[in-house]
């Protein structure tokens, strides 16, 4: 019991929160970048442009079938070989954004495909151009369908940032490791604190998702 009291000292708690802040920072930037990139890639794959869509499709398939850890290794250990030297934070953001945008591209493509083709035909028959129909009729309906899947993808992104501890990203997981490095008796208290912190952040995000679903429905 004493271990728990000592482990949650003010200094340690503050250090954990600093780590949480890095986790949130990396997650939020990656979520924004991957959402934009994922939407563009997903649309390109959906509209079947000659050659371009095939190449984009290939790249998406390639990235989706690689372990995220490997992509992190590429951005941290591989890129310096071509003269791009990123610190652990930006390497992680880049790796997460690449990986997640491929995941999101597939979610967005299948979300658009799931909208009844009659919607597009109807909109076109009423005189809307292809892109007008896409923007005003198809995408809003697709978005509603995609929200739960996209949010669960974001939740796994937040949890996956912990993989980057291996390249010494000073995130929540790494800071917990440093704390139980000071005293090995703190290991269980730290795992418990990690569980609570990851849960709270991810659960808040899923509450937001339920709210959005209800509002858009």
């Amino acid at each position: 019991m004493q271990n728990f009291i000592d482990a949650y000292s003010w200094v340690n708690a503050r250090y954990l929160l600093e780590g949480l802040w890095i986790t949130i920072e990396v997650s939020v930037i990656s979520i924004i970048l991957s959402y934009i990139l994922g939407a563009i890639l997903g649309l390109i794959r959906y509209i079947k442009l000659k050659y371009v869509s095939a190449i984009v499709g290939f790249v998406i398939d390639l990235i989706r079938n690689l372990p995220l850890l490997l992509i992190i290794f590429f951005t941290y250990f591989g890129l310096p070989n071509i003269g791009v030297r990123l610190n652990p934070i930006w390497s992680s953001i880049l790796a997460m954004s690449i990986f997640e945008s491929a995941m999101l591209a597939e979610i967005i493509r299948s979300g658009i495909s799931a909208v009844d083709p009659g919607q597009m035909e109807g909109a076109r028959a009423n005189g809307l151009s292809y892109w007008q129909a896409m923007w005003h009729i198809v995408l809003p309906q697709a978005q509603k369908k995609m929200i739960p899947t996209i949010v669960s993808q974001f939740i796994s992104l937040i949890k996956d940032t912990s993989l980057a501890t291996i390249i010494v990203l000073p995130d929540l997981m790494y800071h917990a490791q440093i704390i139980y490095g000071q005293n090995s008796n703190y290991i269980l208290p730290m795992f418990l604190a990690l569980a609570v912190m990851y849960f709270v952040v991810c659960y808040l995000l899923s509450i937001l998702s339920h709210y959005l679903e209800r509002r858009l429905a």
Binding site: I82, I166, P170, G181, Q182, S184, N185
Partner: protein
């Protein structure tokens, strides 16, 4: 089928591109002189561990890495660049230290790194700056008295990934199974929860753990010699020479002795005279 061929073609061209790019890169990193860059910027960038007690551990209170390796690096910086020279520290792990050195993110590694022939193929080492020996940590009252007791089928021994201790242990006790964990605290936790009969790594680290956990003790004498060296990228002979000169100087002027005593002087059972050799 046509689609498959197109995919394969694309994949090969990507691989070729990656190869070409990586070959340009390596030449560039190797040709830069670390020493002249360090003198220009008046800074040496050291790779140190931040999660290893006694050698390099982040202090949660002021976010400074502290430990034996860090103090050695600071002392060497003063010798190489003069009293105004700056030592900057980048956190490494056993897995990242060699790639970071090769990529030029860091100038040298001082991170409990044992000099081994395999590693000498990829990096250059300075003279050794610490003599560790590998030992065993067990629960008090355990039947394990030395490494021989573990050389049976069915025994499981805990170690840390990326460290040299795994290969060493397999040489002396080939019948035992080695479980590799992410860091020392996790390995100790695994020992406590009975995942293995013993934990093996360098004795300094084990004695530190035993001091913290009264129910555990270090048994048997050290069964290997682990000379720690400072690693530098290949082709930086001038820098290695500078480090060796600086090491010699701090050994002569007593600074080295002071650093060893500061970190290991009050660990009971640790023979720091042996470590200094």
């Amino acid at each position: 089928m046509k689609k498959l061929i197109r995919y394969l073609g694309l994949l090969t061209s990507l691989c070729v591109l990656a190869l070409v790019l990586s070959s340009c890169g390596t030449k560039k990193a190797a040709s830069q002189s670390v020493l002249s860059r360090a003198e220009e910027t008046n800074t040496i960038v050291w790779g140190v561990k931040a999660d290893t007690k006694l050698f390099g551990l982040m202090d949660v209170k002021d976010s400074q890495i502290k430990g034996f390796d860090v103090d050695i690096a600071k002392a060497l910086t003063k010798q190489i660049l003069g009293s105004k020279g700056k030592a900057s520290f980048i956190q490494v792990s056993s897995q990242t230290r060699i790639p970071l050195l090769k990529n030029g993110n860091i100038d040298a590694v001082v991170a409990t790194m044992t000099i081994t022939p395999d590693r000498q193929k990829v990096v250059d080492f300075s003279d050794h700056y610490f003599n560790a020996g590998q030992s065993l940590l067990v629960k008090k009252g355990s039947s394990v008295k030395s490494v021989k007791d573990l050389d049976k089928t069915g025994t499981r021994v805990l170690a840390v990934t990326g460290a040299n201790s795994v290969a060493n242990f397999q040489k002396v006790a080939p019948k035992a199974r080695v479980l590799e964990l992410q860091d020392y605290a996790q390995a100790l936790q695994a020992l406590k929860s009975g995942q293995g009969q013993a934990l093996t790594t360098d004795n300094g680290i084990l004695l530190g753990m035993a001091a913290e956990n009264p129910g555990y003790q270090v048994v048997g004498s050290a069964f290997t010699k682990e000379p720690y060296g400072i690693a530098v990228n290949k082709g930086q002979k001038a820098f290695v020479n500078k480090i060796n000169q600086a090491l010699k100087k701090i050994r002569e002027n007593g600074e080295y002795d002071r650093i060893v005593k500061k970190w290991f002087g009050n660990i009971s059972g640790f023979d720091y005279k042996e470590a200094e050799k």
